[in-house]
């Protein structure tokens, strides 16, 4: 690993050792977010009296162009060489202000940020006086640190111009395509044995009414045509080492057991004695242990379901020689990549037994199942039949597994209900209502909903069309879950749906139906393993969490790991594709130049103090971050600790154990901490309004 710059700080731009600190202090009102509680001008005025503080200002918006210009002007005109800003969270605008310093010719790390919004005004809004005092103290500590700050340089490393995309649904495919077209190498890893994810299972897609699979196929063909993309299906990430720009990822690939395609595939499947639930049709049909996921799937050809295959060898008998290998083993390999796109998608919510009749009555199905049922290539060739009978009355119940209310709905395993809206199910239901109307012109169709969320472009047309098509709408409140029960044996329709309808004064209505469709929402695909491997976190809705929905909407807190599509939250195809492209743009900007910059907050050894005790090496939790190396000087050999900055995450454990105080974390040195602690504990200058 190259060790650049870490010991070269002294050469970086100016040498502050001979320079008296001239500190500029800036207190932001944050448009009232801070200023409504903290007396910002008082804070600035008070701090202005502290030693080394050359200027102290307050401003409505420090992050705005005029605010930034104020800092830049002070640097250029008043010789400010340290900057302390009290504002929002450092998360939001650290980069903004670093760039300001850089533009004005000052090392960007000579700046300290105090969070006056999250840490003061938002939590102490009832007590403005104390809040102001706390602000003064926190900023005084920042000023104390600033006096001791040294310029730093980011750790610059070469990066692989190669991205790993995990998940081959529409989002993963779209990311891969954009990255490849941008000239980057792409490895795409898909867990299942086919590309396309959930989209392949839909009969058609709103809002364009296009057939889903041909649309998907066009995208897949474009992906296949890109020489820069390598695809691995049946594969998953088993582990990863490294950091942005330089990940080594281990991929484990399940064998297909079948090589390519051959003419009598149907005959081969026919002889297999094992019958399994077909997951592509959501259990509405069965498949064999040697099977094709779906008709036009890519890669084409059969695949063996190892979990259920008994290796009886029947298929091998009828297949052309050498095409089937029941002894094929999984294999592992590694790829070196600079960035990772998580496009692991969603799974439909699985109702629990008895939830609105689910599993209790066979006439209760889910919306994904309805898609399969109505699909010409589905288990009933697209006929709207159930149990061999045409369906005459059907009720679609919205928000199953979404918009749940604590205390009303049953919680998931983690104790939380799904209190979010799944965003696609309303329009998906309405679109299916249109299709049902085409296939069964006389059927009675009920949409039982909370709110119709046909929000997107052309979505509302589905709503209007459904109304025109004599679809009956009934509105329920989340607190009163519709009930599904078995009708009288003699009744014409097997089920009754009881719902309190709030479009008619909360009247309780019972409707007889042949089929109930639960418009189930979205849950993230389980990716606990990937979260651990890449150290990314989920939000309270269990979907993967972005840094900030507006400032950094596709980035995770881990530099180099980005999100695409429904792994992040419910989205439709258009939104998933937009997000996937946005993720590709971020990755391109990050590694396109084949180099990355890392924060300089890493351990630093003072070679004069280090005695080579090796205590640091023992406690360091990171691999290859610090080690003892042997040096020789004037015939004497000795050992000294040496840091590999790229592997150090700046946790500082080594600092705490070094018997010789030879270690420090750059940017957070012990002398800086000490100065800060002292300043916090010191008496603060008297300020107007303190009494």
């Amino acid at each position: 690993m190259p060790e650049e710059n870490v010991n070269k700080q002294a050469q970086a731009g100016q040498n502050p050792k001979d320079e008296e600190p001239r500190i500029g202090v800036y207190v932001c009102n944050c448009g009232g977010n801070i200023g409504d509680v903290v007396k910002c001008d008082m804070v600035a005025q008070t701090l202005g009296k502290l030693p080394n503080v050359t200027v102290a200002h307050s401003n409505m918006f420090m992050c705005s162009d005029p605010g930034q210009k104020m800092i830049a002007d002070d640097i250029k005109e008043k010789g400010i060489n340290r900057v302390v800003i009290g504002a929002c969270s450092i998360f939001l605008h650290e980069q903004t202000f670093r760039r300001t310093l850089e533009r004005a010719g000052l090392n960007p790390y000579l700046y300290y940020h105090v969070g006056l919004r999250e840490q003061v005004s938002w939590v102490h809004h009832g007590t403005p006086k104390e809040a102001t005092e706390k602000s003064i103290r926190m900023m005084a500590a920042g000023i104390a640190k600033a006096r001791n700050m040294k310029p730093l340089e980011p750790v610059r490393l070469p990066a692989h111009r190669h991205a790993l995309v995990i998940g081959g649904g529409v989002a993963g495919l779209r990311s891969a395509l954009d990255l490849a077209r941008r000239g980057l190498q792409v490895t795409l890893v898909e867990k299942s044995h086919y590309l396309g994810g959930r989209m392949a299972q839909w009969e058609r897609v709103f809002p364009t009414n296009e057939e889903a699979r041909p649309l998907l196929k066009r995208l897949i063909d474009q992906v296949l045509a890109e020489p820069n993309i390598t695809i691995h299906t049946g594969a998953q990430v088993a582990g990863a080492k490294g950091y942005v720009g330089n990940y080594t990822v281990t991929i484990r690939q399940q064998p297909r057991g079948v090589r390519g395609t051959f003419p009598n595939e149907q005959g081969v499947m026919d002889v297999c004695p094992i019958k399994q639930r077909c997951e592509f049709n959501y259990g509405l049909s069965t498949r064999k242990a040697i099977y094709r996921p779906y008709k036009e799937c890519v890669p084409e050809g059969l695949v063996i379901d190892w979990e259920h295959c008994t290796k009886c060898g029947e298929c091998v008998q009828v297949a052309p020689e050498g095409m089937i290998n029941l002894e094929e083993e999984a294999h592992e390999f590694t790829v070196e990549v600079g960035a990772v796109v998580l496009a692991t998608g969603f799974q439909p919510y699985e109702p629990f037994y008895g939830e609105m009749g689910w599993k209790e009555y066979p006439e209760v199905i889910t919306l994904p199942q309805l898609h399969r049922l109505l699909d010409d290539e589905g288990p009933s060739d697209g006929k709207f039949y159930w149990n061999g009978h045409p369906v005459r009355n059907v009720a679609l119940i919205h928000c199953v597994g979404s918009r749940q209310v604590e205390g009303v709905h049953r919680a998931q395993m983690d104790g939380e209900v799904n209190n979010y809206c799944s965003r696609v199910c309303c329009t998906a239901s309405l679109s299916m209502a249109s299709l049902i109307r085409q296939k069964a012109p006389d059927a009675k169709i009920y949409e039982i909903y909370e709110d119709i969320r046909a929000y997107g472009r052309w979505h509302e047309d589905y709503y209007t069309r459904a109304s025109k098509n004599n679809v009956t709408f009934l509105r329920y409140y989340a607190e009163e879950i519709p009930e599904v029960r078995r009708a009288d044996e003699k009744a014409e329709n097997p089920l009754l749906v009881k719902v309190r309808d709030h479009l008619t004064w909360g009247e309780e209505i019972e409707i007889p139906v042949d089929l109930v469709v639960l418009s189930v929402g979205m849950m993230p695909n389980p990716v606990q393993d990937l979260m651990e491997i890449f150290k990314v976190t989920p939000g309270s809705d269990r979907f993967l969490l972005e840094v900030h929905p507006k400032l950094r909407p596709v980035e995770t807190a881990v530099n180099g790991v980005v999100l695409a599509g429904t792994a992040q939250g419910p989205m439709n195809i258009q939104e998933s594709c937009a997000a996937a492209s946005a993720a590709a743009a971020k990755v391109s900007a990050l590694i396109e130049q084949a180099k990355v910059e890392l924060e300089p907050y890493v351990a630093h050894v003072d070679p004069d103090q280090c005695q080579g005790s090796g205590e640091c090496v023992k406690v360091c939790p990171q691999e290859e971050a610090i080690e003892l190396k042997t040096f020789s000087e004037n015939g004497r050999t000795f050992q000294r600790a040496v840091v590999t900055p790229a592997n150090c995450n700046g946790c500082g454990v080594c600092v705490s154990v070094c018997p010789n105080r030879a270690l420090d974390v750059q940017g957070w040195r012990l002398d800086e901490y000490e100065a800060m602690v002292e300043a916090i504990a010191a008496d603060i200058p008297a300020w107007e309004g303190a009494a």
């Binding site: 939001l92 066009r218 399940q254 979505h459 008619t504 929905p549 507006k550 492209s581």
Partner: protein
Amino acid sequence: MPTEHIKVDALVVGGGIAGMQTALDLGDQGYQVALVERQSSIGGKMIDLSKVFPTLDCCSCITTPKMSATAHHDNINLLTYSEIESINRNGNGFTVQVTKKPRYVREDDCTGCRSCELVCPLEVSEDEHEFGRTSHRIVYVPFSTAVPQKAVVDIDNCIFCGKCIQACPSDAIDFTQQPEPVEIETRSIVLATGFETTPIDAKKEYGAGKLRNVISGMMMERLLAPTGPYGRVLRPSDGKMPASIAYVQCAGSRDQTLGVTYCSRVCCMYAIKQAMLLSGALPLAEITIYYMDIRTFGKGYEQFYQNAKAMGVEFLKGKVARITEDADQNPIVRVELIDEFGKTRVTERQHDLVVLSVGLLPGGNPQAKFGVPVGEDGFIQVPDYNVFPAVTSQPGIFVTGTALGPMDIVDSIMMAGAAASATASYLESSNGSGKEAQSQPERSVEYA
């Protein structure tokens, strides 16, 4: 006047959040970008908002740093106060004629110190950012966080007294300035021309804009913004603090009679956001939201809605049929409660202030200027909406943000990334003449 020539990889039209983010995402990837904005500052509609859902970040905290980053980016050439005159295809690229409108202030010299504004003797009361509720001088810096921070002279109202010329410390005022032609040669174009809101007088049933205490959602944004006209929420007719405020949802959307059949997608959320902010600003006020469906579909949005309910905001399902006013100019809202079986219940309720949750209409007339087709709804139509939403039917022309249809800031920013990515793909392809068409090698789908 000699024509200034600019040569770039991508021209972004429109400097709202979508256009800025697209420019940043392209610039960060190393492409040269020109951003043309017709207003005197970038920022678009977003800069006028108060706080933004769902995070309730103050809007300036999100927008102004993006404005600043755009202006200072090494790879972005910013042209504000500029109009696109014509676009001609030129080989694989485009030649675009742009006119820089005269500010009557030399941009290079003006420091934005506002000395001119202080001495200008005249005021006009149509500051577009305050929605006619306050005034500005004839020479003025558009608003306190404008980018660029440069004064502009409202020449139609100027009496040429020359006071500003004397006051300007850097001698930047120049009444002889002429429109400046700029020619941009670009390989691609991204349309980020944004939206307009439904005019307040669009619906005669809602008072046709004549009821003083019926305002639009955008006006309420200004009333709530820290940079707004009064610094607090007062109703227009008599400056009274409203004790009862009503929101009328879908005012201009989902409305056959106006020919706007689509949902504007942001108004449910902004109404709820404003209701929450109002509960903070006016703790005693009663707030009612009249709606047809509450559409809080985005990440974290449903919880936002539930929080508002828990804070005591009243949600009442029903279509508002008419708004009138009483002798004290208190608006009276007539609501029809919707009933599938033909029954309607009508109630009338009096409020102090009514906010119309106006919808989003297409802005910037992209069809006429850029030759891209638009849909029945007036927003830009693309051939493959689901999978390639940013790619228009005109090779080399892309679309982003609300130019593609109503969407909120989160989705606009996502779309900006999408447009940047689509543009980059194009620039690297043979059509964008980034590279020669490659022969397609054998595929390797690995079966293990």
